[in-house]
Symmetry: C2
Subunit: 205 residues, 2 copies
Amino acid sequence: MSAAPVGTREIGRHAVRAELARVAFNRFCLTGFNQVTFADLAEAAGVSRSTFLRYFGTKEDVVLFVFDPVGDVIADALDAERADEDDWSRLRGALESAATFLVRDVQHLATILDLVDQTPALCARLREKQTEWRPKIVARLQETASPADGSAVVADVRAAAALECLWIVLGHWSASGGREDLGDLLDTAFAAFSTPARAQTGAPL
Amino acid sequence: MSAAPVGTREIGRHAVRAELARVAFNRFCLTGFNQVTFADLAEAAGVSRSTFLRYFGTKEDVVLFVFDPVGDVIADALDAERADEDDWSRLRGALESAATFLVRDVQHLATILDLVDQTPALCARLREKQTEWRPKIVARLQETASPADGSAVVADVRAAAALECLWIVLGHWSASGGREDLGDLLDTAFAAFSTPARAQTGAPL
DNA sequence: TTCATGCCTGACACTGAGTATCACGTTATG
DNA sequence: CATAACGTGATACTCAGTGTCAGGCATGAA
């Protein structure tokens, strides 16, 4: 799932990467993402700046690399979903898989999400990753698309909307301190598409 | 709408900014965004690097500043929409306004969009702007939200989904060389929400 | 054990974005 | 005309990110 290491070197590299990220993450939370330099991180981790940069291409990746597998998680989950479901049901299920994958460490995820939306650069980079995932999702949707949904626009819109749901839901979940149920939040989010969305303030029940 | 200049100095500044952007944009299209440095741009425009940087905070803004008013355009259009419409209709209308605003110079917009999605940095920054617009849109939707839509998640999801529609539609429109009708494309995009989205390849008509 | 191969590391140098400061010339205003 | 405000260019600086190179250390073969 997350690029399972094969050789001993790969294992070592993976472990070092995790440790560097751990040390760095503490710094970021303590001092603020923008205030910490690679030199700081390298010193805190006890390696040279060169080495640190060899493990993470950018400062953003030090925080966000944990999200890398999400694209595949969603795509795989779409395959696993019953193909006779409609797009929204399948997407709803796939997002649940993604959420489950991310919520292995509740406290850590909440902290990351806090840091991310305090930091524009992290926000931007995360949305960039999200955009990279979309084509893969669109492809799965189109494999089973009915002729009536012929336009590529439709699959694109649904994939994009679903991904937006994921972040919005995670944002609210994180803001609630992780107490709200992610499944319920996903239901609420997806309901935004299916309900008639009438406007009057004095709407009939 | 776009920060109407009042004093003579403001007018001059605005004009210089436009000229610098024009010269820079040619360079970007010719050589590629990442290959062009501020030093290049300054030389091409006949000003010092300092001066160029005084007009644009970042390289991305040199290209993307034209999108700055879009957030307000959408928000204003939402106000102008009949408040008794449902959210999707209002958003659809507001997006049409945004599209109309952007398509004043067809050729130029298409070129910008091409450059943007060839350049990850521009993509990221544009999505960042988009995220900045969302809260304003959410606020308009919530002003007239029915109690049943109480959750902030719903308005958030709808605003986010609508903004995604805008870029997807513009992307397809640009890919078609500006020949397709933006209104039709918007309809197709919004149909992704309302159609049942059944999956079977041999779906009944 | 010894040697050879290959990877990891640290040191160093470099480009380029973005920030800040200062002195000079120009332009608006009284 | 005087002066204050502003635009400009020059300069110096920090930091992200790239590239190169030589030495250390492991693994594997002789």
